[in-house]
């Protein structure tokens, strides 16, 4: 019984750590892709959104908002509430 609980927590924790790595990779690709994809041309050819160069807006401003929205969804859907120690288990 005790071993079983440990294994379940371990599986959940491992999966959540992998999600963290996935999110960081996605975050990096978004940030890098927009910054250097749109920002590498000559500044005279830049387009602007809300006054900022498009590369900056997509990479830094929108990228921030997108990450927060994804995080909220991921945590609501995939993160599991588990007891962290014995006492908490007995209480609940």
């Amino acid at each position: 019984m005790e071993e079983n609980r440990k294994q379940i927590v371990e599986r959940i924790a491992n999966r959540e750590a992998l999600i963290g790595i996935g999110l960081a990779l996605f975050n990096f690709i978004w940030w890098f892709g927009f910054a250097y994809g749109l920002g590498s041309k000559d500044p005279s050819e830049y387009t602007y959104i809300l006054g900022f160069p498009a590369w900056f807006f997509y990479s830094c401003v929108l990228g921030f908002i997108v990450m927060v929205v994804i995080l909220i969804i991921v945590i609501k859907k995939f993160f599991v509430d588990v007891p962290l120690d014995e006492e908490e288990k007995r209480e609940s």
């Binding site: 927590v9 924790a13 959540e16 750590a17 963290g20 250097y36 006054g51 900056f56 990450m67 945590i75």
Partner: protein, 477 residues
């Protein structure tokens, strides 16, 4: 003296001290002193957890030198600073529930406690304790000096009195209140940092005539300022990306941050903490560095980067508001040094004294020693700040990368890779920190990247290879 700006600042310092002292009642009444004093009784909720993580990480560099660099380099530096968004969720997710469960099992109070139990090795403990003492103590001293200087520049008092005001308003509550006082005051100061940066950003944009106007002024002065490549075109994608390691994912390994992932109450607190800390760290970093970059057309010709934020605040805001906004960098420094002070103290008390000098000390004695050591460290820091030795300044340069190269793999792989053992951990620590200092001194930016990247790869290799080779020597636990 500028009283309209000084009064809000002094008020701020007083409120922080009062809250910190109030929170110390938990330390007075607890029956488990070490857990309470060094870890807040593992009872932090999501909001306080998030705030203390973000503010401990965000230091003088993000509030003074960061905006200064953005002022000189333009939007490219704001891009670089946004590599820090990942710290908001990565640390809590990677160490995550596993770390919380394991450290509870081990009854670990410090990161070194965890390493000691995981690797069962005296040498791992000694190397970790030494690197914490050297790197964090010097980082703390450098920030402490920054705090004194900031009060000096805001109030016009002498450096000595400024340093005393700064030290006293931190030391009292850290000494008697420990971790919980730090976390609660961090939360209040985090709120100030969020609003301070927002107000100042709006002030700068209004003073500059709106974002489109400011951006076209920047492009008019130097088109490179609105590209991702920096004023001289020197910020290459490889170099900027390598900051994802130094100030991004590598932050997992900073003991002052990792310790916080041991201190939350339950997994709901951790879930909320992840979202809140990502929002807060992204918001503060984006605002702060945008303030720096956009200030250039508003207030041209600033020579010393660190003064950009105070000068711009005085330029674009009414006097009374300046005092409140400049409480933000003050808060950034205070929230970092308070945690560093307690962490250094915990290393001496828990990892050195209770491990090797007097393991059976009674609760009351531990209490006296903990507070005594914290006080003593505070006094040493004040003395060092009066005349900082070169060694401190030198060590501080290596502090962040050095700690990451030392602790990253022993902490993370120790958690997830069963084959990892003490020989691997020692090899990883030695090669990581050794190669980092060598690279930084003789060959900075190997492959166009910050040298922390190479050192972390070398220490990974050290950990994995040595663990595999010595596999047969260790009984698995």
């Amino acid at each position: 003296m500028n009283w309209e700006a000084i009064i809000p600042l002094l008020l701020f310092l007083m409120i922080i001290s009062i809250v910190g002292v109030w929170a110390s009642k938990y330390v007075r009444t607890t029956d488990s002193f070490l857990q309470e004093y060094f870890l807040g009784g593992r009872s932090l909720g999501g909001f306080v957890l998030a705030m203390t993580m973000v503010t401990t990480y965000g230091s003088a560099s993000s509030f003074l030198s960061g905006p200064g660099a953005a002022y000189n380099e333009g939007l490219g530096w704001v891009l670089l600073s946004m590599a820090q968004l990942v710290t908001g969720y990565f640390t809590l997710m990677i160490l995550g529930k596993k770390f919380a469960v394991v450290t509870r099992q081990y009854k670990a109070v410090t990161i070194v406690d965890y390493l000691k139990e995981r690797y069962q090795s005296k040498w791992v403990v000694i190397i970790s304790a030494i690197s914490i003492l050297l790197f964090l103590f010097s980082a703390m001293s450098a920030q402490w000096i920054g705090g004194g200087r900031l009060i000096q520049s805001l109030t016009g008092l002498s450096y000595f009195s400024s340093l005393l005001i700064f030290s006293i308003s931190i030391l009292i509550y850290v000494i008697i209140g420990g971790y919980r006082s730090i976390a609660l005051t961090d939360a209040i100061q985090g709120i100030i940092m969020v609003f301070g940066t927002l107000v100042l950003l709006i002030g700068v944009i209004v003073a500059g005539g709106g974002v489109p106007q400011i951006i076209s002024d920047m492009a008019g002065e130097n088109p490179n300022l609105i590209t991702p490549f920096g004023a001289e075109g020197t910020l290459t994608p490889a170099f900027v990306s390598s900051f994802w390691v130094l100030v991004g994912v590598g932050v997992v390994a900073l003991p002052q941050i990792a310790i916080r992932t041991m201190s939350y109450k339950n997994s709901r607190a951790m879930h909320r903490g992840i979202i809140i800390s990502t929002v807060v760290v992204g918001f503060i970093m984006l605002n702060m560095h945008l303030i720096g970059a956009l200030s250039r057309p508003v207030l041209p010709g600033i020579e010393i980067g660190d003064t950009v934020m105070p000068l711009v605040a005085q330029e674009v805001l009414p006097n009374w508001l300046t005092g409140i906004v400049l409480a933000a960098p003050m808060a950034a420094i205070m929230t970092t040094v308070n945690s560093l002070l307690l962490l250094v103290s915990s290393t001496i008390v828990k990892d050195v004294y209770l491990n090797y000098i007097e393991p059976t000390a009674a609760e009351n004695k531990v209490r006296k020693i903990s507070m005594g050591i914290t006080t003593l460290l505070g006094i040493i820091v004040i003395l060092l700040s009066l005349q900082p030795p070169d060694l401190i300044i030198w060590l501080n340069l290596f502090s962040m990368g050095g700690l990451e190269a030392t602790f990253l793999w022993p902490i993370v792989l120790g958690l997830y890779w069963k084959t990892g053992n003490k020989y691997g951990a020692i090899a990883s620590m030695a090669t990581g920190v050794g190669s980092y200092i060598v690279f930084e001194s003789f060959y900075p930016q190997p492959f166009g990247m910050h040298s922390v990247v190479t050192s972390i790869l070398i220490s990974l290799l050290g950990y994995v290879l040595v663990s595999l080779v010595t596999k047969g020597k260790i009984k698995t636990i």
